[in-house]
């Protein structure tokens, strides 16, 4: 039986505005297991990016708990959250993912450097991981010398190289053409499964959910549906609306 890598308990995020408090995330509880790849979907303004920011220890929840490897991110100070991001979380963003003055292998190795684990064995792992992602010929290229898809693959390697508990991807296909987008998400999913990490991908492109194990749908800050059945998920990916497996109240 797989372990629970990430668990949120009634997580709430409120922002202050002139017209009063706005609840961006409203009592969301979820679990992601080790080796599981989950998609977080929903319309614009549904709270998925705010949720991802809290899971990434970039934003403090107003209420509730976020347990990563059993440690509550919500109760940590800034320094501890930075350490959690460095050690336990891997991250890919929509774009501007890579450090522009480091080449592909240096970008990947940066996470090892950051964690004080840059040695011969890990250098070799970084090279192998880039090779596995089809970037053997691009290791010494700067981000500006690579296509968007290649950059995303380097970002995936960087997100995985330090063996984090949780890998987060924020709209990883937003800046890619359709063919590249499918390749990137497929590779991402297979690496999550192979390396037994917990992965969460925020996407507005439902076609991409065909590679995930579960789909969490958010609306108005709430988790409204969870798709667990692969048939349902594939139907969702093809754009055929189905009854949800489960309704979350």
């Amino acid at each position: 039986m797989s372990e629970i890598a990430l668990e949120t308990k009634s997580v709430v995020k409120k922002f202050k505005s002139d017209s009063g408090d706005i609840t961006a995330v409203d009592a969301v509880s979820l679990q992601v297991k080790t080796g599981e790849f989950v998609a977080l979907v929903g319309p614009s303004g549904s709270g998925k990016t705010t949720m991802l920011s809290m899971l990434a220890a970039l934003l403090q929840p107003s209420d509730g708990q976020i347990l990563l490897d059993g440690q509550d991110l919500a109760s940590m100070n800034d320094a501890r959250r930075v350490a959690m991001r460095r050690e336990k979380i891997g991250f890919t963003f929509q774009s501007n993912n890579l450090i522009p003055y480091l080449n592909a292998i240096e970008n990947v190795e940066y996470m090892l450097r950051l964690n004080g684990r840059l040695d011969k064995v890990n250098r070799l792992r970084a090279q192998e991981l880039l090779a596995r992602l089809g970037l053997s010929e691009r290791m010494y290229n700067l981000p500006s010398q690579m296509s968007g898809g290649q950059q995303q693959r380097v970002a995936i390697a960087r997100a995985l190289i330090h063996n984090p508990t949780l890998v987060l991807a924020d709209e990883p296909t937003a800046s890619l053409d359709t063919e590249r987008a499918f390749q990137v998400v497929e590779t991402f999913a297979s690496l999550i499964h192979e390396n037994k990490r917990a992965g969460i991908m925020v996407t507005h492109d439902l076609r991409m959910v065909q590679y995930v194990d579960r789909v969490l749908q958010m609306q108005d800050g709430k988790l409204v549906k969870i798709y667990e059945n692969q048939e349902e998920i594939q139907s969702l990916a093809r754009g055929i609306e189905k009854t949800p497996d489960k309704t979350v109240n």
Partner: protein, 387 residues
């Protein structure tokens, strides 16, 4: 160790991969350095041209005529008072210093304006020669040249020189033999020549009245004390013991050379403003750079880079770029200085250049402070929101 190596790695990688841009900026800093060092050198050169002789005097005090406002040219003291001063307890020695302006006629047909300084051979006021010999008290046709005179003419030890001085409405030529050469002894922007006081009286520029009524006077008296620990006490003692004089330390004497303080404060103001411009230029450059890098710094922080690492990387980058600029600027200044003719009053000495270089190295971190602070305060969430 990693606290330094990681920021250094980030800073140096970014510099190396964007070396064209950073080199260009280092060149801007080099130009500022060139300007600051030239202003410092000019300040030192002008100051030297004014005070070089006074600052090298083997004396602790100068005696001026009372109420002459410490202006050497305005002071007249009877030569007989020199002996009185020598007899004051605590005074090791004293000697007259009399000033005038004459011209040396050069063999190429040109002329060189010099300060004609009358001194008592073997007493304070006579500079030490580096070549040749000191003045002989009985050698009335002897002269010691300041090396600035040698640099601007073809004169050498053993040569005879012809000086031309105004005598009333006429002028006269006098021939003197070069017996010694001293280090630089410029006084009021002219190189100096030294003659015995009696020769000075004969050869100095005179008005009609002075020709018909020669006076046994000097401008000031240089006083060397037995101990330099009792300067204030001896000042009072000389003021009271010798009638009609007022004593001043050498630094007071230098400050009161006409125009010296005003000139130096002008030069210093220029230097400070150039440094301020440097602070603004460096601050502006790094601030623009940080603004361009907001998403990138956001990503660095989002993946777990701490604020101290981001801040220290910025500091290292500023220090490296500034140091490179200052080094290039220093080298350029040195190369330019080799091309200056001796009459250009620019002097680079270790102390003033070092102060200028330290100030230049400090303007980087000072100018970049705002950008460093900004970089440290960038929220990692920007990585998500700006991506």
């Amino acid at each position: 160790m990693q606290r330094f190596t990681l920021p250094a790695y980030l800073a140096l990688k970014e510099i190396w991969r964007n070396r064209g841009r950073f080199l260009l900026f280092s060149l801007v800093i080099a130009l500022i350095t060139l300007l600051v060092l030239f202003i410092a050198g000019l300040g030192m050169g002008l100051a030297n041209s004014n005070r070089e002789y006074l600052s090298k005097l083997d004396a602790n005090l100068l005696l001026y005529q009372e109420k002459s406002d410490y202006i050497i040219a305005a002071s007249r003291i009877a030569l007989s008072k020199v002996e009185d001063v020598r007899n004051v307890p605590g005074v090791a020695d004293a000697g007259p210093i009399a000033t005038s302006l004459v011209a040396i006629e050069l063999s190429n047909g040109g002329e060189l304006k010099v300060s004609l300084l009358g001194v008592d051979p073997g007493h304070p006021g006579e500079p030490e020669v580096k070549d040749g010999q000191q003045l002989n008290p009985s050698g009335l046709d002897e002269v010691i040249l300041d090396q600035n005179v040698v640099l601007r003419s073809n004169l050498k030890l053993g040569d005879t020189i012809t000086i031309r001085s105004s005598q009333g409405t006429d002028y006269k030529l006098y021939t003197l033999k070069v017996v010694g050469i001293t280090s630089g002894q410029a006084y009021t922007f002219t190189p100096s020549i030294f003659v015995p006081i009696s020769t000075w009286e004969k050869t100095r520029t005179k008005s009609e009245a002075e020709i018909s009524h020669p006076s046994e006077t000097t401008n000031v008296i240089a006083v060397k004390l037995n101990s330099n620990k009792q300067i204030e006490k001896m000042k009072e003692q000389l003021d009271q013991g010798i009638g009609g004089v007022q004593a001043a330390t050498i630094s007071t004497a230098i400050k009161n050379v006409p125009g010296y303080s005003a000139q130096q404060s002008t030069i210093q103001t220029q230097g400070v403003f150039t440094l301020l411009i440097g602070v603004l230029v460096i601050g502006g450059f790094f601030q623009i750079q940080v603004l361009q890098k907001v998403p990138q710094i956001g990503v660095l922080k989002a993946i777990g880079t701490s604020n101290p690492v981001v801040g220290l990387a910025s500091v290292i980058q500023i220090v490296v770029v500034t140091s490179l600029g200052v080094a290039i600027g220093g080298l350029l200044t040195f190369l330019f200085s080799l091309t200056f003719p001796p009459n250009v009053p620019i002097v680079f000495n270790g102390q003033s250049s070092l102060i200028a270089i330290i100030a230049l190295l400090l303007i980087g971190p000072i100018g970049g402070f705002v950008s460093i602070r900004y970089a440290v305060r960038i929220e990692p969430l920007k990585a998500l929101r700006l991506s």
